[in-house]
Amino acid sequence: MAVDYKELKKGGFMRQKQKDCFSMRLKSVGGHFTAQQLGTVQQVAEQYGKGYVHLTSRQGIEIPYIRLQDIDEVKAALKRGGVEVGVCGPRVRTITACQGAATCPSGLIDTVKLAREFDRRYGGRELPHKFKFGFTGCHNNCLKAEENDLGVKGGVQPKWQAADCMYCGVCEAVCPEQAIRVDKQARSLAFDQAACVYCGKCIKSCPTDAWTGEHGFVISFGGLYGNRIAIGRHFLPIVFDEAKVYDIVDVTLKFFEENAKPSERFAHCLDRVGWDVFEKKVEEVL
């Protein structure tokens, strides 16, 4: 019987140079694996592979040198040990995330929880080409949101209350975008909202909590980091409502489905069809 490599690839089996050998991709969401899952991975790598794993560039694990005849047995062994097989090909791919607000002092959004919810809603969905989601908790961008077809970054929109301010000047000093000007003598402060990148450094540094703010999601579109490199673009204001994020993702995936040619990445599709056309579609759901 002929081997259906396409079907195997879809199920996370990456064909190796070596005859009838596959590097088996495991499912990863936000790069979290339990110790128990790692125990299963170890066992499978020792029994069916060559006793090692490869950590992928997108927080995944692959077990190389799985033989064609063992595939069903390996899948069953992984399943028993609580490990799922990953995906490849033209669909929603591994969803990546930093550790986010659950553990990181800088985190502004719960990236891991979001990654899981995105996986539940969109994981493995068939599309004209691969589509990558990534979540990063704050402006430090440890997870490189703009490398993704759709990236989500935690942000905070600062608000200033004159009554609580003592005009110490710390916010002006910490702002990476020079969006704040403090005049100590005149006891006045100017904030350029348009220059703000939602990093929240003013809020985190303010000694009197004169700066406060609401946390939200900063979304970028059309990132690529392969043959062609394109930085995901920002054209939306910060979004505060998580439900609104899903509306935006739904319209984005629909646009990709309806407009992309087979094997055309999202960035290429946007360049060809027009960013303005896409922006209008997204703005309709805001």
């Binding site: 000047g169 000093a173 985190k204 540094s205 000694p207």
Partner: protein, 82 residues
């Protein structure tokens, strides 16, 4: 220059993060609550991180002044936010 007179002073322009904050913490240990420390620090990472760390540990920044050379002088009150 409108600098607040501080009880002690420290220069952290010769070190990088995280030693910057470690040196500030050690200097604050020699002070009593309510006393002030003047910190001379560089632009970039030190000014972005040290004020936040001071706040996280319950100290209160009283003033930040940019110097002609682009560095900063910060005055902090020990335990001012406790």
């Amino acid at each position: 220059m409108s600098e607040t007179k501080a009880d002690a002073a420290i220069d952290i322009t010769d070190v990088v993060c995280p030693i910057t904050f470690v040196k500030v913490k050690v200097a604050l240990e020699d002070l009593a609550d309510g006393q002030t420390l003047a910190v001379h620090l560089n632009d970039g990472e030190p000014i972005e991180n040290v004020p936040r760390s001071l706040k996280d540990e319950g100290h209160k920044v009283l003033s930040v002044d940019r110097q002609a050379d682009g560095s900063y002088t910060l005055v902090v009150e020990k335990g001012g936010r406790a």
